[in-house]
């Protein structure tokens, strides 16, 4: 398997559970928009994160999509308006 370093997560989840998922994702990667997360993550953390999410969602109603990248260099990102946090920087 390719070495995964960067993920983009988008989700569509029933209001009852959306907060739970939000809280899990917040521990691992960076909150970009209301239902979008992205950021660097280690292999072991991906597994832990997916495991935690799977325990919380209802597969019949919820949908969650994770895009995996092996490097941030393959993504070209354009932002209009104000960005919450420049993800590539760990200096605040």
């Amino acid at each position: 398997m390719i070495d995964i370093k960067y993920v983009l997560v988008v989700y569509d989840i029933n209001e009852k559970r959306v907060n739970k998922i939000h809280k899990i994702l917040k521990k691992y990667i960076i909150w970009q928009q209301n239902s979008t997360f992205e950021g660097y993550i280690t292999q072991s953390n991906i597994k832990k994160m997916i495991g935690e999410i799977k325990r919380k969602i209802n597969p019949e109603e919820d949908n969650i999509v994770i895009y995996f990248f092996n490097s941030k260099n393959v993504i070209k990102k354009e932002v209009d308006g104000t960005e919450k946090w420049n993800v590539s920087s760990n200096i605040l």
Partner: protein, 328 residues
């Protein structure tokens, strides 16, 4: 992206198992910072925090380091130790007490450090050939030494020669540097060395935290000067190839200029902006990939962690410790 540097004034809070930073300035937005991807936090700004936040750090096993206005190290919150074992403590103690075994570790640390110094000087051969030869000559005398003090004295001489060479290199860019003077740093280059070394010590300490090594027993440095001293031993190997390389880079490529420093009584410190620029380059250097065994490419930070594991293997008698050398 493993060390978080905070330059924003504000409040650090725990919110839903994530770090929540609320900037003091109303114009800046509050943000969530996922802590799972960080191994340490360095705070340079004015922040407030509560125990609940420290609780989170303790749970995640992340040490947090505080620096004052001038970038001097203030202290740290070193969370409850989880990986430490009595066995390792005894092994370290035994190797410290037995002068023969202690010298063996101290010598291999110093030899790696000197080889890395020579690696840095190699690029400027024409300018500093005389210093290189002298350092090489002094390095040959390590083997004969029978005690730590003699070893440290030679190391002192090597470092003096090495810094003289660095002085010649930065002299081309209008920076003056003759000898190492700290508390407070005498000139700009001294300020950069002090700041860089301080950060490196804490990064190494954060890596030691992940292993079972006890940071208060060291071999090359005397463990009586400060609480944690093992970090100084391991950092010795990496100072030339991380800190000094970054310093030469920021000076040679004009990233940091004379106006990035502030003068104080009898000394010079980096300004807030200067610190930020330096940390940026420093972090880039730490993420620089080098080849470790079997052509595995890893960042310098991982190499530091490997160095801790190598030391553990040596203490357990599994494999002789041989310090990391760049370009080998």
């Amino acid at each position: 992206m493993e060390t978080l540097y905070i330059f924003t004034d504000g409040e650090l809070k725990r919110k839903n198992s994530a770090l929540y930073l609320i900037p003091l300035k109303k114009s800046e937005k509050a943000i969530f910072i996922p802590l799972k991807s960080f191994s340490s936090i360095m705070v340079f700004s004015e922040v407030t925090m509560n125990k609940r936040f420290l609780d989170l750090l303790s749970k995640e096993g992340i040490p947090i380091f505080f620096y004052n206005y001038y970038g001097n190290f203030l202290g740290s919150f070193y969370p409850r130790e989880i990986n430490k074992t009595g066995e390792m403590l005894i092994l370290q103690f035994n190797h410290y007490m037995d002068i023969k075994r202690r010298l063996e570790i101290a010598k291999s640390i110093l030899e790696a450090a000197v080889d890395n110094m020579l690696y840095v000087l190699k690029n400027y051969k024409k300018l500093v050939q005389r210093e290189i030869n002298y350092v090489k000559k002094l390095k040959g005398t390590f083997e004969r030494q029978k005690n730590i003090a003699a070893l440290m004295a030679i190391e002192g001489n090597i470092r003096k020669t090495y810094y003289k060479a660095i002085g010649k290199i930065v002299g081309k860019k209008d920076f003056e540097f003759e000898e190492r003077r700290k508390n407070p740093p005498k000139d700009e280059v001294n300020a950069l060395i002090s700041f860089g070394n301080t950060i490196l010590y804490n990064i190494v300490l954060a890596e030691i935290y992940k292993t079972s090594l006890e940071p208060s027993i060291s071999f090359l440095h005397e463990p009586n000067k400060r609480k944690f001293s093992l970090q100084l031993d391991i950092a010795e190997i990496f100072k030339p190839i991380i800190v000094d390389k970054v310093i030469l880079k920021v000076i040679n490529s004009n990233v940091i200029k004379k106006e990035d420093f502030e003068e104080v009584k009898n000394g010079v410190y980096l300004s807030g902006k200067g610190k930020k620029k330096f940390v940026e380059e420093f972090e880039k250097r730490l993420e620089h990939k080098v080849t470790l065994y079997n052509d595995n490419k890893v960042s310098f930070k991982t190499v530091i962690l490997h160095e801790c594991y190598k030391l553990i293997r040596h203490l357990k008698g599994e494999e002789k410790f041989k310090g990391f050398r760049l370009g080998e």
